[in-house]
């Protein structure tokens, strides 16, 4: 094995499900500040559903990503869940028919996901959403092939994105309606992704 395989995904799903559960309250609270307070539910439920299907995942990494996308389509209909489903669907299409995806393709997979998610959410980069963090990560991981290096770069990029956007207003999603009030607050979707990365890198508090 030299890249992303079924086995990697299985481990990742377990970690993401655990991260989702532990961040449940924090994310609901953050979303509740300017939104409907359901983001923790969305993240926890979605990854739990995907992880519950982990033993059934096919070897085809594309089809495995599709199964994860479908898990989100099934249980989480809030924006974040649908966007994650969209990103996973894009990865599914890109990986279809292969059981081993070189880590060096990570950045390219992200690029495809970002494009699909922007289209799905009718948004743009700079709107202060989870996609801005993904874009920061895509840039930071471009050209990298070593999984540990990729994780380290991802972690740093996530921190950078949070800091960069904190003092900007939200231009999309529910928080948009609150305009100026969103300045100074972390975008809940970015925070969710941050917690997911924490889970993957083992930084998760329990």
């Amino acid at each position: 094995m030299t890249g992303i395989s079924r086995a990697h995904l299985q481990i990742a799903l377990e970690r993401l499900a655990a991260a989702g559960a532990s961040a449940h309250d924090e994310l609901n609270a953050q979303d509740g500040k300017l939104g409907d307070g359901d983001l923790g539910i969305t993240v926890a439920r979605g990854w739990r559903e995907a992880a519950d299907g982990a033993t059934e995942l096919p070897d085809d990494v594309g089809m495995a990503f599709l199964a994860c996308s479908k898990a989100f389509q099934r249980v989480s209909s809030s924006s974040f869940g649908t966007l994650i489903a969209t990103g996973l669907m894009s990865a599914a299409k890109a990986c279809k028919g292969r059981s081993d995806i070189p880590f060096s393709e990570s950045s390219a997979l992200l690029e495809g996901a970002i494009e699909a998610m922007l289209k799905r959410g009718k948004g743009a980069l700079g709107d202060k959403t989870v996609i801005d963090m993904l874009e920061e990560i895509r840039l930071a991981t471009a050209g990298k092939a070593d999984p540990q290096e990729i994780l380290t770069a991802t972690d740093a990029a996530a921190t950078k994105a949070l800091e960069r956007f904190r003092d900007q207003p939200s231009k999309l999603g529910r928080a948009r309606m609150f305009g100026e009030k969103s300045i100074g607050l972390d975008d809940p979707g970015m925070l969710a992704l941050r917690r997911m990365i924490d889970g993957l890198t083992g930084k998760m508090e329990s």
């Binding site: 099934r74 966007l83 969209t86 529910r174």
Partner: protein, 331 residues
């Protein structure tokens, strides 16, 4: 929370169960949270599918029926159904002639329905189109009309597109009628008291004892002004004025008008509003065709009303008057 329910998380499923067993001649629930015509899809007919959050009966599921919709996916109260449920609705509405997705312009619903559309295209080879209702004039200025929320205008689009599909028109034509109707509709709402989402357990907003909010959305979205409650004629007058400012009517124009209760406002008060609206529209030279007064798109027990105008030409008028049949509306 003064509601008649069992466990809040069972509100939607028990409601759907009750609706389907009360009216088995109209409704079936072939998969969880998907309501389809009890007779199944009509072969060769374009299927019309809608969806959105619960808590708006007769919208969405209630309008499944002959001359109206083929299926609806329904979410928790005020929450989008999942993409999977929407895909399910599309499959159950599929008569082989394509599907029109016809629903209100809310971000979550749109993302999920788009995803569902891709899924059934990929997996089931179902061709589909989308028409969004964006009729609430208060929710965005005319320059950004496509950002507006969809409210009671939906009922007109269900009716005309439903009638067109029943004529066995093709997908392009059914889509054209739905879009034409959506373009011809303008709505505005006002609210006096909130409703309670069962799983949240608290009112969606608060308003003073003698206050009203003009322009408020059906989930309690902020409106244009909040002030002391005004007389019915003044309220109606301002609502009609704002609709006409967005869609001017001139002498000879025909419109249908829907004076709709958000739930608690009784028919008595809707008729008081209708009385004034009619005088005002006729003063503008327009004539009213097939007025609708009642509960067509609600927010559970919210007190308040919406007014929708739908400008008609011969084609839309004929489709509006064509037969239709569901448990909530018979034409």
């Amino acid at each position: 929370m003064k509601k008649i329910l069992n466990a809040p998380q069972d509100y939607v499923d028990e409601m759907l169960d009750g609706m389907c067993t009360a009216h088995p001649e109209f409704y079936a629930q072939p998969e969880r949270r998907v309501i389809a015509r009890s007779g199944g899809a009509t072969q060769g007919k374009v299927g019309i599918v809608t969806g959105g959050g619960s808590g708006h009966l007769p919208i969405f599921t209630g309008y499944v029926g002959k001359g109206l919709l083929d299926a609806a996916a329904i979410g928790d109260v005020f929450a989008s159904p999942s993409a999977e449920q929407m895909a399910g609705a599309m499959r159950h509405a599929n008569g082989g002639a394509g599907i029109l997705r016809l629903y209100g312009n809310y971000g979550g619903d749109v993302m999920n329905f788009d995803m569902a559309g891709e899924t059934v295209e990929l997996e089931d080879d179902i061709e589909s189109t989308t028409v969004l209702l964006a009729d609430d004039v208060v929710s965005a200025p005319p320059e950004e009309a496509e950002k507006r929320r969809g409210v009671a205008g939906m009922v007109y689009a269900f009716k005309t597109a439903g009638a067109k599909a029943e004529e066995m028109a093709d997908l392009a034509n059914v889509t054209r009628i739905a879009q034409k109707t959506a373009d011809a509709c303008r709505s505005i709402g006002m609210a006096l008291t909130p409703c309670t989402v069962p799983q949240a357990g608290k009112p969606t907003f608060t308003l003073g004892e003698d206050e009203m909010e003009m322009g408020m959305g059906i989930h309690g979205e902020p409106g244009i002004w909040r002030d002391k409650l005004k007389p019915a004629d003044a309220i109606t007058g301002e609502m009609i004025e704002r609709l006409l400012a967005d869609m001017p009517l001139s002498s000879g124009d025909r419109v249908s008008i829907l004076v709709n209760s958000l739930g608690a406002t009784p028919d008595e008060e809707l008729y008081i509003m209708y009385r004034h609206a009619k005088m005002q529209l006729e003063a503008a030279g327009a004539s009213i065709v097939m007025p609708l007064v009642g509960r067509y798109a609600t927010s559970m027990e919210m007190t308040g009303a919406t007014i929708t105008l739908c400008k008609l030409d011969d084609e839309l008028e004929a489709l509006l008057k064509a037969p239709a049949d569901c448990a909530f509306w018979r034409v």
